[in-house]
């Protein structure tokens, strides 16, 4: 992970409405955006950022680029990401929602083969408060600090960040895996990164119903994470998901050895509790638990 103010960033799909709106905000926050790409619209300038038709036109002028933030239309996002990998960029933040999941499978195979870190899709991206913004987090809700914030959603992440900020707990980083069916990175990957990150003392994991992300995370935390982790799960009152019927029943039973309630709030909360991870009942309880934990010694001896 290289998310420092010195690292260079390119924005792909910079002239899409979303990119046009957020690229200048990212730049204002201090992110070093060295170029933008929008195929067929090269030659323009957006807020002082030169726009190219392709990455390979930009690179000779701006040097090695660490990260690309992709606002491209969903069916063009895989290609944009592969273009970035082809020119050696190894950190990719996919903001766009609606990327077909099989495109993501293709991209993940490629990312694994090239040791590329993918954030998203359908994600607000990454913010390192006070330093850089790679995506669409509202910076005014964040403050620098030592809480590492992980989630797979957007606005609820901002809500939790603000709750922490208000209570005086700034954040070392906030990352959302993204809300689409297939995500480019996983909780275990990020837990590992934050466990090794010197700026992070406590990890807050904001979960939600569906899938087995939180169950897997709980298992991984118990096995491999030394820093304290606090969890929160949204969706306790949500109506049960419609099953896919016949086929769905068979497929659900195959997903993992995590029992038939997999994906419900109960399943996730109890997985965290079994792993010894405190679970907040409401967002405003999160800073209270952080306070409590910071008074006691680390969960595990190293």
């Amino acid at each position: 992970m290289n998310f420092t103010p010195a690292s260079k960033v390119i924005v792909q799909g910079i002239l899409e409405p979303l990119g046009k709106f957020y690229a200048p905000l990212m730049q204002e926050y201090g992110t070093q955006i060295v170029a933008g790409v929008s195929p067929g619209q090269g030659g323009q300038i957006l807020a002082g950022i030169p726009v190219f038709d392709m990455l390979e036109q930009a690179l000779p002028r701006v040097g090695t680029v660490d990260t690309t933030v992709i606002f491209s239309p969903p069916y063009a996002a895989l290609d944009a990401a592969l273009e970035a990998i082809a020119v050696g960029i190894r950190q990719i933040v996919l903001i766009s929602q609606g990327i077909p999941p099989l495109d993501m499978v293709h991209l993940i195979r490629k990312a694994e083969a090239t040791d590329t870190l993918i954030v998203g899709p359908n994600s607000p991206g990454v913010i390192v408060p006070g330093q850089m913004l790679l995506g669409i987090h509202p910076p005014e809700l964040y403050r620098p600090g030592s809480i590492g914030l992980l989630s797979r959603n957007g606005t609820l992440t901002y809500e939790v960040a603000w709750t922490l900020t208000q209570s005086g707990f700034g954040q070392s980083i906030a990352v959302s895996l993204g809300g689409d069916q297939i995500t480019g990175s996983t909780f275990p990957q990020w837990l590992q990164i934050l466990d090794e990150d010197d700026q992070t003392d406590v990890i807050v994991l904001v979960g939600e119903i569906g899938g087995d992300y939180e169950e897997t995370a709980a298992h991984y935390i118990a096995e491999a994470i030394d820093k304290p982790v606090i969890a929160y799960v949204a969706g306790r009152s949500a109506p049960r998901n419609r099953r896919m019927g016949h086929a769905g029943a068979i497929i659900d039973s195959q997903t993992a050895d995590l029992g038939p309630d997999l994906g419900t709030a109960e399943s996730k909360v109890s997985a965290f509790k079994r792993a010894g991870i405190p679970v907040a009942d409401r967002p405003s309880e999160i800073p209270e638990i952080v306070k409590r934990i910071l008074k006691t010694p680390a969960r595990k001896a190293i």
């Binding site: 509202p138 901002y158 939600e208 992300y213 409401r282």
Partner: protein, 390 residues
């Protein structure tokens, strides 16, 4: 998006997966022009499963019986759903029935092929014998043979089964499916295979690049990018509260808080996140107004809780949208005129919680309206509960 059995089988036929001769029947009299020899099966074409158990499949041997059976199937709802079409299909003598599916596994983030040597109507038995193989890298037929061996298939059946898996996998991948299932996959005395039933779910996000598939189902989509849903889900039929938020997880967290505070929810509405590539500040404002109008249509809604998080859209614009909803606008704006006409009842009370925007500006703009504007989430919900009880 789900496909009906006959639509799935059309795709199977296209990619060379063997299916029986069959014909679509839109009304019982169509059976007079049947081109398949009797005996045939008549199968209700519905999206729901388990039709076999409840009489949605009938075997008939002549036209008179067929027409009578068709009449009764057309009038038989399967879990509430009436068929618009039946499939008339030749009979097949299967010696063995297999189960085969390709699905996208969210957790492994890879396609998985599933197979059971005990397919057919008894799902429990199929599950007990289920085997799976993860398609870790690009598909190659050896993954299919791996599944065949795990299922205990032997001899040439390994190869003929693998060939079906291969074709099914390419169908899955070419058409961006979430799921494709053959159950049962019949094996006859000669060891030949036949897809006797088929189920396909196309990924909704990918439908835009498969116009021919998208045209197969005209019903409203359950999931549509960048648009409000066509209908609202009812949580508690006794509820009087409606919730409107931006973002799915925020909506759920807000509902949880209301529920924890003893509030009873009737409806919720997520007006969407900001990660669509065409998103602009107007998108949020337009949907906010449209969403409030949708919720207000339902007489039972006494209070609406608006929770908008994120500071990139200026608070004055958000406040203006809410104000436009609350104060029927000048007759020049035709869209809002229509909205006005649809409002037969007094408007629900609004508790508006805004995070990240300049709250004072919003309060000022909404000062002359009955909307309560707050920034702390827990207090706002306490206000909401109190207001609803009034």
């Amino acid at each position: 998006m789900d496909l009906l059995e006959y639509q799935a089988k059309d795709l199977f036929r296209e990619v060379g997966i063997p299916v029986l001769p069959s014909q679509c029947i839109e009304r019982p009299t169509d059976l007079k022009a049947l081109k398949i020899p009797y005996p045939i099966a008549l199968k209700s074409q519905v999206y729901m499963g388990e039709r076999g158990r409840v009489g949605g499949v009938r075997f008939v041997s002549n036209t008179i019986d067929a027409i009578a059976a068709a009449h009764s199937i057309f009038n038989l709802p399967i879990m509430g759903e009436y068929p618009k079409v039946l499939l008339a299909e030749a009979k097949y003598e299967a010696q063995q029935e297999l189960y085969l599916a390709v699905v996208l596994n969210q957790s492994i983030r890879r396609p998985v092929i599933l197979g059971s040597a005990k397919g057919g109507i008894d799902v429990r038995t199929a599950i007990d014998a289920m085997q799976h193989v993860v398609i870790d890298q690009d598909f190659s037929p050896f993954y299919a043979r791996r599944l065949a061996l795990k299922m205990g298939l032997q001899g040439n059946l390994i190869n003929s089964f693998s060939e079906i898996v291969e074709r099914l996998y390419w169908l899955f991948s070419d058409k961006d499916l979430d799921l494709v299932e053959i159950n049962p996959l019949g094996v006859n005395a000669k060891g030949e295979l036949m897809a006797l039933d088929g189920k396909i779910t196309v990924n909704d996000a990918a439908l835009g690049r498969h116009p021919a598939l998208a045209a197969l189902d005209n019903r409203p989509r359950k999931f549509v990018l960048d648009r409000l849903p066509d209908s609202l889900t009812t949580i508690d039929p006794q509820g009087q509260i409606a919730v409107l938020c931006n973002g799915a997880a925020l909506t759920m967290a807000t509902m949880d808080l209301i529920s924890q505070s003893g509030g009873k929810l009737l409806h919720y509405l997520n007006i969407g996140s900001e990660t669509h590539h065409t998103w602009q500040p107007e998108t949020l404002c337009d949907r906010l107004e449209e969403g409030l109008t949708m919720l207000a249509k339902h007489k039972q809604v006494k209070t609406i809780f608006v929770n908008i998080v994120g500071g990139t859209v200026k608070s004055d614009r958000i406040a203006d949208s809410i104000a436009r909803f609350l104060r029927p606008p000048a007759p020049t704006r035709t869209v809002s005129q229509e909205l006005k006409i649809s409002r037969g009842t007094p408007l629900p009370k609004l508790v508006v919680r805004l995070l990240g925007t300049d709250l004072e500006v919003a309060k000022e703009r909404l000062a002359s309206t009955p909307a309560l504007v707050m920034d702390d989430l827990d207090s706002a919900i306490a206000q909401l509960i109190a207001l609803t009880k009034k």
